[in-house]
Amino acid sequence: MTNELEILFTGSIILFALGLYGLMTKKNAIKVIISLEIMFIAAELNFVAFAKYSDEEFATLGQTFAILTLIVSAAVISLVVAMTYNVYQKYGTLDTSELSLLKR
C-alpha cells in the first residue's frame, strides 16, 4: 500500500540515481554539470515532500530549505559554468578525463 509520501520519496531516489549515473558515465563537462543539478533537485524534492507531512511547528521549514538550496545551487551553477567556459578557452577541450593537471 503506497501513500503519497512514499511515491515522492521514490521519485527523489530515482532522480538522484539518474544524476549519479550521469556523473559516473559522462565525460563532457556540460553533461557533468547537468547531472549535478539533477542531484540537487532530487534533494530539494525530498525536503518539500517531508515538509508536507510534518507537524505545525515546522510546517514550512522544508519549503524554506528548498528555496535556500535553490538559491545556493543557482549561484554555484553560474560560477561553475563561467569556470567551464574559461577552461574551454584555455585548454580547448571539455573532456574531463583529459583535464587532469592536479594529478601527481
Binding site: 556523473l23 515546522f58 535556500l68 574531463t96 578525463s97 587532469s100 594529478k103
Partner: protein, 622 residues
C-alpha cells in the same frame, strides 16, 4: 533599557545602509571600470564614504540598544504565530562605535589608495575586495546574532586573503611569495575560526538561541547561565581562540609579521591593505568579539578565562615589541608594533572588571587612528622611493616635510607622549591594571611601554635623519597627503574623546564615571608613564639620533639575543617544519589519484550502495 526585536519596516534604516552600501559598491565595481578606471576608484571612495556617513548618523541615538530583525523565510507556526528564519542587526553603543571606526578609516584609506594604487593592472580585484571588506567589517560589528557575526568574520577573512595576495600575478619569486602569504594568513586565522565556530555551536546546543542580547539579558540573568558550569570556561576559550586567530596573538602572530629572512607575511600586500586590515580594522575584530562577550563572561564568573586572556596578551606584547626592536623593514616594525598594541588591549581585558573593558575599548580607537596614520605615511614613502629597508633610507627630512611632521605625531602617539590620545589610553590601561591589583600584567605593560618608545623613535630617526640616501625623489601627490593630514589632526585631538567615553558607554561602565578619576589620583601614574616614555625616547636618540644606520654589538650574549630576535624566535621555522612534514606525507598518499572523474564517481556510488545495504540489513531501519 528594553530589548526588543522589531519587524523590518518598509523603509531601510541607516543601520542597514552602513553595511549595504559598501557591498553594493563592491558588486558595481566592474561596471564602473567599464566607463573609466578613475571612475571606479572614486566611486569606491564615494560608497565607502556613504557607509561612513550612515554610521556617523547613528551616533546620536546609539544608546537605543535595539536589535532590528531581518526576516528571510517562514519556518512554521508556534502557538498560532508564524515564525521566521531571521537574523538581526544590533544598534548599541559598542557596535556604533566600532562601525564608525571601521567605516571612517575605510573611507580615509580608500581616498589614499586612489593615489597609491594608481595604474595598477589588477585594480578591479583590489577595489572589489576593498569595498567587500569594509562592508563585511561593518556587518561584523553591527551583527545582532552569532550567525551574522560569523558571516562578517568569514568575509573579512576572505578579503584579507585576497588583498594580501593581490600581486600574485607578478613574476616569481615575488608573485609566489604573495600567494604564499595570503594562504598563510587564511590558514592561521582559520585555526582560530574553528574555535569560534565550536563555541557558537556549543552555545546554540545549550541555550537554543543565537541572539547576542538574549544571551545576556533574557530570562533574568542571561541565557548563558544555561551552559553547565564545567563547560563555561571551554566555551569562553573557544571564543577567545577565534579572537586569537584574527587578532594574531601569541602562537598565531606570524601571519602578520615574520622575520626578515622568511618574508612571508601580510606585509607582502599593498601598504594601504596593511593600513586598513592589519592596523585599523580586521585585527580589532578579535578585540571587539571579546568586548562583546565581556559583560556576559563577567556575569558567569569564569575568572580563569580572564587570566588566560591577560597572559596571552602580555606575552604577545613583549615578544613582538622585542622583535620590532631589531627589525630593519619599515613595514615590519609597524606590523610588530600593531601586534604589541593588540597585546595591550588584551592585557586590559585581563583586568576582569568593567574598567578594563573601557580601557581596552578606548585604546582600540586611539590605536586605529595613529597606526593607520603611520602605515599610510610608510606607504607614501615607499611609493616615492621604492625601498622598504630602513638601512637604505635616511636623510629624508628635507624632501618629505609633510611625512616628517606626520610621522613625528604618529610615533609620539605610539610611544605615549602626553597629552596625545595614545598616551591617555595607555595610562588608562595602567590605571585599570593597578586598580584591579594585577601586578604581573602591570609589569609586562610597563616594560612593553619602554620598549615601544625605543623602537618607535628608532624608526623615526632611521628614516628621516642621517645621510641622504636618494637624490631625486618624486613627492606624493595631494590625494595621498590629504588623508595623512586628516589623520594627523585626528590623532592630535582624539585624546579629548576621553571625556565623552563614560557617558557614551553608560550601561557598560555600570555607573563608573570619570568624575571618580580625580586629577590628584591620576598624577602619579601619568608622571610614571611619562618618565618611562621619555627614558625610551632618550635611549633611541642617544643610539640613533646622529644618523647611525646599525648598531655594532660586541657582547656575545647580546649578539646571540639579537640573532634570536631577528629570526623571530624560530617560531616560523617550527611551523614550516610541521607543515612540510604534512605536505610530504600527503604527496606520498597521492599515488592513489586516478585523474578521471568517472572512476571517482564509481567509487563514490559503491560506497553509497554499501552504506545503503548496511543500513537495511544491520541497521534498525525498515
Amino acid at each position: 533599557m528594553v530589548w526588543e526585536t522589531e519587524i523590518l519596516d518598509k523603509t531601510v534604516g541607516a543601520y542597514h545602509l552602513c553595511w549595504l552600501l559598501p557591498f553594493i559598491g563592491a558588486v558595481l565595481t566592474p561596471l564602473f571600470a567599464l566607463i573609466h578606471p578613475k571612475v571606479r576608484d572614486w566611486m569606491g571612495v564615494i560608497f565607502c564614504g556613504g557607509g561612513m556617513a550612515f554610521a556617523i548618523s547613528l551616533l546620536p541615538d546609539a544608546d537605543i540598544n535595539e536589535s532590528f530583525a531581518i526576516k528571510w523565510l517562514p519556518i512554521g507556526y508556534k502557538g498560532g504565530e508564524l515564525q521566521y528564519l531571521q537574523n538581526s542587526i544590533l544598534v548599541d553603543p559598542l557596535s556604533v562605535y566600532m562601525a564608525v571606526i571601521a567605516a571612517g578609516l575605510g573611507f580615509i584609506i580608500a581616498m589614499f589608495s586612489v593615489g597609491y594604487m594608481d595604474g595598477d593592472e589588477a585594480g578591479n580585484r583590489y577595489w572589489f575586495f576593498f569595498q567587500f571588506f569594509v562592508g563585511g567589517m561593518v556587518l561584523l560589528v553591527m551583527a545582532g546574532d552569532l550567525i551574522f557575526l560569523y558571516a562578517g568574520w568569514e568575509i573579512v577573512g576572505l578579503c584579507s586573503f585576497a588583498l594580501i595576495a593581490h600581486w600574485y600575478h607578478k613574476p616569481d619569486p615575488q608573485g609566489e611569495k604573495c600567494a604564499k602569504s595570503g594562504i598563510k594568513a587564511f590558514v592561521m586565522t582559520r585555526i582560530g575560526d574553528i574555535g569560534l565556530l565550536a563555541a557558537i555551536i556549543a552555545l546554540y546546543l545549550y541555550t537554543n538561541t543565537i541572539s547576542i542580547y538574549e544571551l545576556k539579558y533574557a530570562g533574568g540573568s542571561g541565557l548563558f547561565n544555561q551552559v553547565p558550569s564545567n563547560a563555561r570556561f571551554w566555551v569562553g576559550l573557544g571564543v577567545f581562540l577565534g579572537a586569537m586567530g584574527k587578532s594574531a596573538q601569541f602562537p598565531f602572530h606570524t601571519w602578520i609579521s615574520s622575520p626578515d629572512t622568511i618574508d612571508i607575511d601580510a606585509m607582502q600586500g599593498p601598504t594601504t591593505v596593511s593600513a586598513l586590515i592589519h592596523a585599523a580594522t580586521m585585527v580589532k575584530a578579535g578585540v571587539y568579539l571579546i568586548a562583546r562577550f565581556f559583560p556576559i563572561f563577567l556575569q558567569v564568573d569564569i575568572e580563569n578565562l580572564f587570566t588566560v586572556i591577560g597572559y596571552i596578551g602580555g606575552i604577545t606584547a613583549i615578544i613582538t615589541a622585542l622583535a620590532a626592536l631589531v627589525s630593519t623593514d619599515i613595514k615590519r616594525v609597524l606590523a610588530y608594533s600593531t601586534l604589541s598594541q593588540l597585546g595591550y588591549m588584551f592585557l586590559a581585558f585581563g583586568a576582569a572588571a568593567p574598567i578594563g573593558l573601557m580601557a581596552g575599548q578606548f585604546h582600540i580607537v586611539m590605536h586605529a587612528i595613529f597606526k593607520a596614520l603611520l602605515f599610510l605615511m610608510a606607504g607614501a614613502i615607499i611609493h616615492s622611493i621604492g625601498v622598504r629597508d630602513m638601512r637604505e633610507m635616511g636623510g629624508l627630512k628635507d624632501d618629505f616635510k609633510v611625512e616628517w611632521a606626520v610621522c613625528l605625531i604618529g610615533v609620539a602617539a605610539l610611544a605615549g607622549v602626553f597629552p596625545l590620545g595614545g598616551a591617555i589610553s595607555k595610562e588608562f590601561i595602567f590605571h585599570a591594571l593597578i586598580e584591579e591589583d594585577k601586578w604581573i600584567f602591570f609589569t609586562l605593560a610597563v616594560v612593553t611601554a619602554f620598549i615601544t618608545a625605543v623602537y618607535s623613535f628608532r624608526m623615526f630617526f632611521l628614516v628621516f635623519y642621517g645621510k641622504k640616501s636618494v637624490e631625486k625623489v618624486h613627492r606624493p601627490g595631494m590625494e595621498m597627503r590629504i588623508p595623512l593630514i586628516i589623520l594627523a589632526g585626528l590623532t592630535l585631538i582624539a585624546g579629548a574623546l576621553y571625556f565623552y567615553l563614560f557617558d557614551y558607554f553608560e550601561e557598560i561602565a555600570l555607573g563608573v564615571t570619570e568624575e571618580e578619576f580625580e586629577i590628584q589620583d591620576e598624577l602619579p601614574t601619568v608622571a610614571f608613564s611619562l618618565a618611562i616614555v621619555l627614558a625610551g625616547i632618550f635611549l633611541a636618540w642617544k643610539v640613533y639620533g646622529d644618523g647611525k644606520r646599525t648598531v655594532d654589538i660586541k657582547n656575545p650574549i647580546l649578539l646571540k639575543l639579537q640573532k634570536l630576535l631577528y629570526e623571530g624566535y624560530y617560531i616560523d621555522q617550527l611551523y614550516y617544519k610541521v607543515t612540510s612534514g604534512i605536505t610530504r606525507s600527503s604527496h606520498g598518499a597521492s599515488v592513489i589519484h586516478t585523474g578521471k572523474l568517472n572512476y571517482n564517481m564509481i567509487g563514490c556510488s559503491l560506497v553509497l550502495a554499501f552504506a545503503f545495504i548496511y543500513l537495511i540489513v544491520w541497521g534498525n531501519v525498515v
